[in-house]
């Protein structure tokens, strides 16, 4: 029986074997189980490893999305945990707690009255940023922990500086872009901040709604109430900032 080398297998798989060569190749495939297995494995290796290599970029983009979703689901778990803890704590009401509650309630009413008298809401009423949680597992002494420390202690100038470098080095991490925009917004660099938020808003990451919310806040900070309203209205019900957006809309 005719022997075939690997180049023949390659040619066969590319559909380049013709005439008698193709006939003999097919005969060998049908009569020689070991040869047939060799061709199958060759083909499977070629298909799988080519596919992996060509999908490398897409796979990384998907990994970024999944990583972000994992973080969000952790935050949700923690929030619902602390919410449950709070609920458990408030079950016990002593007389002194009740009186403290009454004082607190009257204070809230008083400040609300002041607020109503003042009229329009302000940026500071709503600008409570989620603390940064960038430290990659086992990477605690990295530049990520420095930028996180700066941001969480509200040193937005330093955080911006470090984020600028990080976002140049890794353009795929949308989370870094978002925090860079927040740092700029905090320093009233509206045009630059909005450019970043708009880019995220028009992208495909999990931060689309966050970016819309920050666009609403940016407009609010500039007292552009009309556009702030328009952005706040775009936040869908399942977004994290939906409740805050509804409060803002009510006050506007």
């Amino acid at each position: 029986m005719k022997t075939f080398d690997y180049l023949d297998i390659e040619k066969y798989l590319q559909g380049e074997l013709q005439g008698q060569d193709l006939e003999l190749f097919n005969q060998k495939l049908n009569n020689d189980a070991d040869f047939a297995e060799e061709v199958s494995v060759y083909k499977a290796i070629n298909n799988t490893l080519s596919s992996r290599a060509q999908l490398h970029k897409e796979e990384n983009e998907l990994r970024n999305t999944l990583e972000d979703l994992g973080k969000i689901s952790l935050k949700r778990t923690n929030n619902s945990q602390s919410f449950t803890d709070k609920k458990k704590k408030t079950k016990v009401f002593t007389l002194s707690n009740v009186s403290k509650f009454l004082v607190a309630a009257s204070l809230v009413m008083f400040t609300s009255l002041l607020f109503i008298q003042k009229g329009k809401p302000t940026y500071n009423d709503f600008a409570t940023h989620q603390s940064m949680d960038l430290v990659v597992r086992g990477d605690s002494v990295s530049v990520f922990s420095e930028v996180q420390k700066a941001f969480n202690s509200k040193d937005y100038v330093l955080a911006e500086n470090k984020l600028q470098k990080l976002t140049v080095a890794d353009k795929t991490k949308v989370e870094l872009q978002l925090y860079l925009g927040i740092c700029m917004l905090e320093q009233d660099k509206f045009e630059l901040a909005e450019k970043i938020f708009t880019k995220i808003k028009n992208g495909k990451s999990v931060y689309v709604n966050k970016a819309i919310w920050y666009l609403a806040l940016s407009k609010l900070k500039q007292e552009d109430y009309e556009n702030s309203t328009s952005f706040a209205k775009l936040i869908p019900k399942d977004a994290d900032d939906y409740d805050k957006a509804q409060q803002l809309l009510k006050k506007l």
């Binding site: 080398d5 690997y6 180049l7 297998i9 390659e10 047939a36 297995e37 060799e38 061709v39 199958s40 494995v41 060759y42 083909k43 499977a44 290796i45 070629n46 298909n47 799988t48 490893l49 080519s50 596919s51 992996r52 290599a53 060509q54 999908l55 490398h56 897409e58 796979e59 983009e61 998907l62 990994r63 999305t65 999944l66 990583e67 972000d68 979703l69 994992g70 969000i72 689901s73 952790l74 778990t77 597992r137 495909k204 990451s205 999990v206 689309v208 399942d238």
Partner: protein
């Protein structure tokens, strides 16, 4: 016979398209159960996230390379894959004295069959990747380029060799890899071409 996709096939499409809205829904609906299983069985939250992510990446590759169609509900299929992956991991780590806490989940034959298919796809792909690394040297260098770039004319140009040489070398290197794969103790014969 053409397979009819289950309505949950939308999650497979979402993986292929990196659709964060539908993937967000997937995480909300299904990750809790897996996190629960792993944290009850010697793992932590990070372990669970790794297992979820790696399982979804495998399904993504299966969908891209094999046009994988989900013909059953996603829930038990996904849970089964994550669970097996975690058990493999803790077996490799040789965590001794671990009592596996099982949760009662009803799994249909179809879900079992599709999970087996995905698992086999993953085992085979990882065996190929491992052997490519073990191959090393000039062969690996050539294949890294040849797998990435479809046109062998371009590959030859990048490597500074003739088209004929690049093609012959590529086939010989995949041939070497084929032998290494078939000689591996983890190799399971392929049934279909």
């Amino acid at each position: 016979m053409e397979k009819k996709p289950h309505e949950d096939h939308k999650y497979i499409i979402a993986l292929v398209n990196n659709d964060n809205r539908v993937l967000g829904e997937l995480y909300q609906k299904y990750s809790g159960k897996i996190i629960g299983y792993i944290t009850k069985n010697s793992g932590n939250y990070d372990d669970a996230q790794d297992i979820i992510q790696e399982t979804l990446i495998t399904i993504f590759h299966q969908a891209k390379e094999k046009n994988f169609i989900l013909t059953c509900p996603f829930d038990a299929y996904f849970y089964l894959l994550c669970k097996r992956k975690w058990l493999n991991k803790i077996n490799k780590k040789e965590i001794k004295g671990v009592t596996i806490i099982e949760e009662i989940t009803s799994i249909s034959d179809e879900q079992q069959r599709i999970a087996n298919e995905t698992e086999m796809f993953e085992n085979r792909s990882s065996l190929f990747e491992e052997k490519l690394i073990a191959l090393g040297g000039k062969c690996k260098e050539l294949l890294d380029v040849a797998f990435k770039i479809k046109s062998m004319e371009k590959v030859a140009e990048i490597l500074g060799v003739t088209y004929g040489y690049a093609r012959k070398k590529k086939s010989e290197c995949i041939g070497k890899l084929t032998k290494m794969v078939r000689n591996s103790s983890r190799y399971q014969p392929l049934t279909t071409l």
